[in-house]
Symmetry: C2
Subunit: 331 residues, 2 copies
């Protein structure tokens, strides 16, 4: 296996987030399920935006957030995802590039606008997401940057890629490309409803093509159609090399064929907005893994990054994560 030129390359939806505070009544009125992501079309997005409160616009996208976190930790990260050549697309490109992530895919010059995610943050700091996929629906196998994928220690994919029609093929091809180059493939299950929508595909993918899986408690239980977390953890153990199962305030569990490593949660100084907690956990874990750290340290790095992101609005780190990791004796 040739030396890696990147630690992680991520493939995912390129999204600009619009984050606003909302109360429980607002969620009820719009029949939104707290803590989940749903897809909306351009019209629904417009109506919801019109009714939601004042927003903060900040680059998002699950995998893109993870890559920004890897870069903030001092890792070498790349991103593949599609924007349109519009204002939000320029903002997305500026933000990910200036965060130190390699992003060289050209913007689409026609087709739908850059994706937006309308995120409602309730007083309990939970986020509820409404995604207009826009230009992301155009991502296809022809967009894969072979050089980035073959050069990265890990290719990291999001389950959300199963939503746009052509990205699923791109995801499968990227996994094959990475494995052919002797690299690892990692997947995040993204969202419980996303698992519901694509369970059979995900099961096949996890069993045959994924080396490192990220899932939260609800997602992993949904994947294996059980209500018992321990049963789900047992099931995934046979399916992939490393499964990283996050449980919010209960910490996380790293499951491998040989061991279970429990990671204590890192307490945040305050909890304002949980958007991006899972994404940034993955940043820390993948960074640690590509640097050859023990699994327990990988998990601690993940918890550290998640604890930073929930102290403020938005899913891109405000603090320098490398400094935080150093202060915690993890870098």
């Amino acid at each position: 296996m040739a030396n890696a030129t990147l630690d992680v390359v991520g493939i995912g939806n390129a999204v600009l987030d619009v984050i606003a505070h909302a109360d429980e009544a607002f969620l009820r009125k719009h029949r939104l399920v707290k803590g989940t992501m749903r897809l909306v079309d351009a019209k629904e997005a417009e109506v919801l935006y019109g009714e939601m409160g004042p927003g903060v616009e900040i680059s998002g996208g699950s995998v893109a957030n993870t890559m920004a976190g890897v870069a903030s930790l001092g890792g070498r990260a790349g991103f593949i995802g599609k924007v349109r050549d519009d204002g939000p697309g320029q903002v997305f490109r500026h933000d990910i590039t200036s965060a130190g992530v390699t992003y060289r895919m050209p913007a689409a010059s026609s087709g739908p606008a850059t994706a937006r995610c309308l995120i409602l943050v309730t007083p309990d700091a939970q986020r509820t997401m409404n995604t207009f996929l826009g230009a992301c629906v155009e991502l296809g196998p022809e967009d894969l940057d072979r050089e980035l994928i073959e050069g990265a220690s890990v290719t990291y994919l999001e389950g959300y890629l199963f939503d746009p029609p052509r990205a699923k093929a791109a995801l499968r091809q990227a996994a094959a490309m990475a494995h052919a180059a002797g690299r690892k493939v990692s997947l995040s299950l993204s969202d419980p409803f996303c698992v519901e929508r694509h369970r059979a595909d995900f099961r096949d993918l996890v069993k045959h093509h994924v080396d490192i899986l990220f899932a939260n408690e609800i997602e992993i239980c949904s994947l294996y159609e059980t209500k018992d977390f321990d049963a789900a953890a047992k099931a995934v153990r046979g399916d992939c090399e490393i499964a990283v199962l996050t449980r919010s305030a209960a910490g996380s569990l790293v499951v491998t064929p040989g061991e279970h490593v429990a990671i204590a949660p890192q307490m945040a100084t305050r909890v304002v907005d949980t958007t991006g907690a899972g994404d940034l956990y993955a940043s820390g874990f993948l960074f640690g893994l590509t640097r050859g750290r023990p699994l327990a340290d990988c998990g601690r790095l993940g918890s550290l990054c998640a604890a930073e992101i929930i102290t403020h609005v938005g899913a891109r780190p405000e603090a320098n994560l490398r400094d935080l990791a150093k202060a915690a004796g993890l870098a």
Copy 2:
């Protein structure tokens, strides 16, 4: 004097902020003076944006921030300022409208893009601003909404209006319109360099047309060309009915012909970004004043609002200010 239909109507630049963290070296490299605002053209803005870090986009504009604060306190606020009919203009309109501020000026269908302010926040939480005025340069006397101005207890103006060429005339006319309707006129000096640029005009305005003046220590000293704060406070006492002089961590001083009221600062739970501290102080003060509160309470309300805004990135309140005021026994 007829009953007011609004507590405050603000006239100012309609701006979308792009806020990024930066270090001292970045300010030095770009020869920026920390804590101040400078005007940039479209080209300079593009270059600076290309070099600055990942940003958060959030509606701004000094007076617009103040009006959002008044509305969050439960006051009736209106805003007059010009955007273009572009994406950022739509974001600005959405944010101020959904904050509960009356904003009914149509967007310009031609001319420069909606204004942007590139804000660099250094590790000491200070902000340094670079404003591309864009569509704001088109604001003129014909844009004044007579009904809003005549119906508001206070017409609040920003010194920044002296920068775009035609807004100065609009500002003078708005002051005359408000006074003719028996209303009060308030002005914020905005920025030390802004005072430098327009000192003679400001002196005349303060002496003859302003009832309630807001200035920080540096601005008021610059206005009266003195290095002695007490001398400046004495000078302004003869010039207008109420002068509100803010001194950051040293609190604030309210000066009237008859009394000096010193207000202790309100300590923030944490200080992340001082953008908007002065704007939100004005929100609290003007809200208290229009509700007939004693000057000391007006100052305390100002300090309370300023203390909220500096705990997070951006100059629009994240918390409900009315709830905070209630909790502090001020509403």
